[in-house]
Subunit: 94 residues, 2 copies
DNA sequence: ACCTCTTACGATTGTCGTAATAATC
DNA sequence: GATTATTACGACAATCGTAAGAGGT
């Protein structure tokens, strides 16, 4: 809830959700189920105490907090590191 | 142990270990037990396939991979974000 | 002896898929 | 009615503390 440390999986799930505004496609990108993505985003929301995404006429839309979160998470956590080149570029120490 | 995604806790544990070269003090900084720190660092090592820290005459010392890892993890993951101002600066979206 | 590292074990929590339901087109 | 969002539930994995043992000074 509030002492939960956001995992990289959760940040990545939110990041994919922001880019697709669609849980199904976000899940496809991450090779998990839409349920998994939804649940991680919900944990993020719970830990923040406010919703980040809402249902909209055309799928999903970001709340104000979601907009701020998308910017700050992208900047602060450097989520882009995790868009493909994680292991090759950052973890492999050879 | 190679499909394990390093958690922020694990990266933070390694970061604290690098700075203190001492599991007890690293654990104090993170308000956990030395055992918890040690186990997270070991998971990191397992996922990398090589040791990062070794016992030394005066406590701990970094291996070559550990030196490289300390630099890259600090750079790539921006661990410094988690040295205190995590919630205030990065998570709080108010 | 003391201090630190290290590990086995168990409890708690987190992650994620399945399956069923609700909402929207 | 088809697609997507949402939730309950259960299996499995990760996290972490306790307690005990190993290593060094």
């Amino acid at each position: 809830m509030s002492d939960w440390m956001p995992s990289l999986s959760a940040l990545r799930a939110f990041d994919a959700t922001v880019r697709h505004l669609n849980f199904v496609r976000a899940a496809e990108e991450l090779s998990v189920t839409p349920s998994a993505v939804k649940q991680l985003v919900r944990k993020l929301e719970d830990s923040l105490g406010q919703p980040l995404v809402e249902r909209d006429v055309r799928g999903l839309r970001l709340t104000a907090a979601g907009e701020a979160g998308a910017r700050r998470i992208s900047e602060a956590y450097r989520i882009q590191v995790y868009r493909g080149e994680l292991c090759e570029d950052c973890i492999d120490l050879s």
